[in-house]
């Protein structure tokens, strides 16, 4: 019988969080949120849209200060700095 060395009551590292600011395209809605650093940006965009009660039949994305869209499949912390202001924007194709 092998005895497993790691047992109960192990202190685990705290999951990291990141604080970010988010606004809708009109600037009328603002949120300050702590998000898990390893959540994909697409999931963050959807959760922010729900928090802002934006329409659910629209696909939402996040843009950074420079106007660039975040990659929805990459972790939010790879694309955003602490305290950065993001804009939640409908994903749309113009023609």
């Amino acid at each position: 019988m092998r005895v497993h060395e790691s047992d109960t009551c192990v202190a685990e590292p705290r999951p990291a969080t990141l604080r970010l600011m988010a606004t809708d395209v009109t600037g009328s809605l603002e949120l300050s949120q702590d998000v898990q650093t390893d959540v994909p940006a697409g999931a963050v965009a959807r959760s922010l849209a729900e928090q802002m009660e934006l329409p659910k039949d629209v696909a939402w994305a996040l843009r950074n200060d420079a106007g660039a869209f975040l990659d929805e499949d990459r972790q939010i912390s790879e694309q955003v700095q602490e305290g950065e202001i993001l804009t939640i924007t409908p994903k749309s194709h113009l023609g």
Binding site: S6, R14, L31, D34, S47
Partner: protein, 276 residues
């Protein structure tokens, strides 16, 4: 109504019980500690192994990293230490390749997994599955859960000492979270653990809790896709069900009158925003 047909552990091991026998239910005694009773019953779609000795020591709540699915649940009969296996995994035709060479049944392997991990040990011949195999089972985005205004990202742990899925239910608990809120979080965790098979919820940090994490621990388990996917499904459902409640309880900027006590407030950070 669980069925319980007595059978000894020696019978269970020597006669290689068929699924019919398991489906009929069995009571057994651990093979190496004859005074410690272990019962095995069928409850709906689950095979439930109970460690009766654990009833006498309910404080022995397995925490994060404890191999296997053991956990303490509280019901009308008091605390019970249980290990729950999905029955459909027992019937999975695509089972662990190593079974063919040993002649063992999958049910034997699963029971062996439960008995060995009861005290934190592992089955003697168990090896960690290949990462590529486990990752091939994982559906795309399977560890991302978004419900309401909250998103959570889980993790697959495949280290030499642990094979587990984990999901932060509350990624960060403020050190000054009022005690009534912390107790409510503890009750939420206990109730969730009782209601959902396979998963256990644990606070990290010592002595002060710093996060609440849900875990399904496969360490020591046969390499069976349906077992793994059942654990993943449970973890996702649990997260969807409890994360908003847990978020409100852990967010002291949202006052909860029933937790404030007589004339007191439990709102400690009025300026803090709600985490997602």
């Amino acid at each position: 109504m669980p069925i319980a047909t007595p059978i000894t552990a020696a019978q269970a091991y020597s006669s290689q019980p068929s699924h019919d026998q398991v489906a009929a239910g069995m009571d057994c005694r651990a093979k190496d500690t004859p005074t410690d009773e272990v019962t095995l019953t069928i409850q709906g779609r689950w095979v439930v192994i109970s460690d009766l000795r654990g009833c006498a020591a309910p404080q022995r709540q397995p925490g994060l990293g404890h191999p296997g699915l053991w956990k303490v649940v509280q019901d009308d009969a008091g605390p019970q230490r249980v290990f729950e296996i999905p029955r459909w995994a027992v019937d999975d035709p695509a089972t662990d390749d190593s079974l063919a060479s040993t002649g063992e049944t999958l049910m034997q392997r699963l029971v062996d997994w439960a008995l060995e991990t009861r005290q934190g040990a592992l089955p003697p011949d168990w090896v960690m599955p290949d990462a590529a195999l486990v990752e091939s089972w994982m559906p795309g985005g399977g560890l991302t859960v978004q419900a309401g205004g909250i998103a959570r990202q889980g993790e697959l742990l495949l280290r030499p000492d642990v094979w587990a899925l984990r999901m932060p239910i509350v990624p960060r608990i403020a050190p000054d979270l009022p005690a009534p809120r912390l107790r409510a979080l503890e009750q939420l965790a206990a109730e969730t653990q009782r209601s959902w098979a396979m998963v256990r919820l644990s606070f990290t940090g010592d002595p002060d809790p710093s996060a609440l994490v849900a875990e399904v621990n496969f360490t020591g388990a046969p390499h069976v896709e349906s077992l793994f996917l059942a654990g993943l499904d449970v973890l996702r459902h649990v997260t969807r069900q409890v994360q908003e409640t847990a978020d409100v309880l852990s967010n002291a900027s949202v006052e909860i009158a029933c937790l404030a006590g007589s004339g007191a407030t439990n709102k400690t950070h009025p300026e803090r925003s709600k985490p997602i």
